[in-house]
């Protein structure tokens, strides 16, 4: 048998075997997708337990602006708003907040900070 003929024969048999495979291919049960999605939701809840009630945004990014506003009032009265803005002062405040709240305060001093 020539090489060309061998390749032609291969293509034909491959196509035929692939077609047989497709015909016999099972469809995953609908319950499989439901189980997978249920596990996805459980994984999301485990990753961010406090998010479950409010649409899934990370806890830090949701609570930080409110916390920042409260802290800005406290530190604003104590230090004056002019002093809280510079990086050095922000750094000190950030360290203090991290000590007290364990919140990622880079969000507090990001573009969304309300002061």
């Amino acid at each position: 048998m020539s090489e060309d003929r061998g390749v032609e024969r291969l293509d034909a048999v491959l196509a035929s075997l692939a077609a047989a495979e497709r015909r016999s291919r099972p469809t995953p049960a609908a319950t499989l997708e439901a189980r997978v999605l249920a596990e996805a939701m459980a994984a999301q809840r485990r990753a961010a337990p406090s998010d479950a009630r409010s649409g899934g945004r990370p806890a830090a990014s949701r609570t930080a602006p409110a916390l920042a506003f409260a802290l800005s009032l406290v530190f604003g009265f104590a230090l004056g708003f002019a002093e809280i803005m510079p990086t050095e002062t922000g750094g000190q405040v950030q360290a203090q907040i991290e000590d007290e709240t364990d919140v990622a305060v880079d969000v507090v001093f990001g573009g969304d900070a309300p002061f």
């Binding site: 048999v13 035929s16 291919r25 596990e39 996805a40 939701m41």
Partner: protein, 191 residues
């Protein structure tokens, strides 16, 4: 939800979907499931030849993706590539467990799983010869061939799935086809 298909756009989109999933987005979980679960299930079914086991493997592979999502590094690996490997490894584990409880000669070598389904589907002599020949191909050639002819993927998608270059896929396919054609020729000459 818009889900882009194919090439780099799909890769970028998978990364975004995983990031959104990690951020608590249920729609992203649904989109990833719709996109990735059927392929993982088919891959497992093809290797294990058992529907129930294939469902278990596909479910476990997806669970691992969910767990991985918060630390997923976008741009480093395509989710479908990652899932393909995880599914393959889970199948190898299953085959290994089968070997532990069965006659070792009855179960394929676990480090190099062959598509169990093809043997069963072989309806005639030609199919049987081809299924056997596919089972004897080196693993990378066999993976490329199955993705090309049974999953109908293009070479770029196969390259992404196997984490290699398109040129390497072309070479794998060419070598696989030469080997298979030679085996079929031998079989044809004998009959």
């Amino acid at each position: 939800m818009a889900v882009m298909e194919g090439g780099g756009a799909a890769q970028e989109d998978e990364g975004r979907l995983i990031a959104r999933f990690a951020d608590g987005d249920r729609d992203a979980a649904e989109a990833l499931t719709a996109r990735l679960l059927p392929g993982a299930f088919r891959q497992a079914w093809r290797l294990l030849g058992d529907e129930a086991e294939a469902e278990d493997v596909a479910q476990e592979a997806m669970l691992r993706l969910w767990r991985q999502a918060p630390t997923w590094r976008t741009g480093e690996a395509k989710a479908s590539t990652w899932l393909y490997r995880v599914t393959r490894n889970l199948c190898i584990d299953r085959i290994r467990r089968r070997r532990a409880t069965a006659d070792i000669e009855d179960v394929p070598e676990p480090a190099d799983p062959v598509p169990a389904v093809l043997d069963r589907l072989a309806a005639d002599e030609r199919h049987r010869a081809l299924a056997t020949a596919i089972g004897r191909l080196p693993a990378r050639q066999r993976d490329a061939l199955l993705l090309r002819h049974f999953e109908a993927l293009g070479n770029p998608e196969i390259a992404a799935r196997l984490d290699t270059s398109v040129e390497a896929v072309e070479s794998l396919l060419a070598r696989a086809r030469r080997t298979l054609a030679a085996r079929l020729r031998e079989e044809g000459d004998e009959t």
